[in-house]
Symmetry: C2
Subunit: 218 residues, 2 copies
């Protein structure tokens, strides 16, 4: 019956309380949305006084920064499935990125809400989240790009932006109303339609573009 100083003690442990608050903040953002994201709601959810949010995180801004730090890890975890796989061509890399993004947004409400927040209610707070997200995404691409050359004769940046925007918006609308433009987006089968379309779009759009060095015909 030795005293068991469990690291995650339930009484008067600052670091533990900090974690509880951080988890509560994530939960509020993921489940209630950013319009409900405030000190009162977070403290209520964490089961502690809102004063602690100010004391430990300096207010909402510091709390958002703490979420941003976890964001990179979350991203890596969600997009990490084929870890060591290398890709033959650049469009194959983009194709996998889009499909992974579909999975990631479907799996994580938090990620989705953050993406929505940046777009719908921009602020200095969300700008830092956006930066963290962009960093994580760029890192994902770089680590598995190898030395693949970008296609020429095609606006790669705009194309990727459009396709990622499509994925993001479909995921948002799916979460909100279960579909978009008359297309249901709830079951895996529903989303398989989108995955097929994404494959078609990325292959078709990159098909016309010559790829330097290695041009494997289909």
């Amino acid at each position: 019956m030795a005293i068991k100083p469990t690291e995650t003690a339930a009484t008067r442990n600052r670091s533990h309380t900090e974690q509880v608050i951080l988890d509560a903040a994530k939960a509020v953002l993921a489940e209630e949305g950013f319009s409900k994201f405030g000190v009162n709601a977070i403290a209520r959810r964490a089961g502690c006084d809102k004063q602690l949010i100010y004391r430990y995180y300096g207010g909402i801004d510091g709390l958002v920064d703490a979420i941003g730090l976890d964001l990179a890890d979350l991203f890596q975890e969600l997009l990490a499935q084929p870890e060591g796989t290398r890709f033959e061509t650049y469009p194959a890399l983009i194709e996998q990125l889009l499909l992974s993004l579909v999975s990631a947004f479907r799996a994580s409400d938090l990620l989705l809400r953050i993406a929505a927040w940046e777009v719908f209610d921009p602020s200095p707070v969300t700008a830092r989240l956006a930066a963290a997200r962009a960093r994580a995404l760029g890192q994902w691409v770089e680590t598995r790009r190898g030395n693949l050359a970008s296609p020429v004769g095609i606006d790669v940046g705009a194309t990727n932006a459009a396709l990622i925007a499509a994925v993001q918006h479909l995921a948002l609308s799916a979460k909100a109303v279960g579909g978009f433009a008359g297309v249901a987006l709830e079951t895996d089968a529903d989303w398989e339609r989108i995955r097929a379309v994404l494959r078609t779009l990325v292959r078709a759009s990159y098909a016309a573009a010559p790829i330097p060095q290695d041009c494997t015909a289909p």
Copy 2:
């Protein structure tokens, strides 16, 4: 010096006040966003007491319905540029729809905010707006579709949904932070990149699909 009973009298004219309130509501939604959309903000903007919103519109819900009624007109007006033009092929129709949507979302903050509202904060109120919008959009397609046959061997619904989602999200992000995924979306030149990508995407994705009746080779 005859008494000029101007239709839009400035004093004690109910229908005039109703219009002022409606315009104020649209302005608040377009400029401040749906998070600020409430009786207090609207009344403040309209320069009258909020009580009149309840008396004349029965509250926020009735006011939103009134906006919805104007929405169809707004849509028709924004997307009406090539009025009588007919299209040779179905993808050409979709292509024009996407390009028109880009123009419409760039031109009307109100339309954009409503689209965002539906996705972010779904409610019975926004559902009616979504229905009005969907009706107007479907009407646009029907009136200029003629008897064009849909391509086979391609998921038309999912493809169109993805492309429309891309346009909508790019427009939203552009309004919010001036770009998306590292691509600036402010000037006409910026958007011309997106238009080009959309043209490529729709043509490429529909190219593989056989079109019944008339299959004009590029």
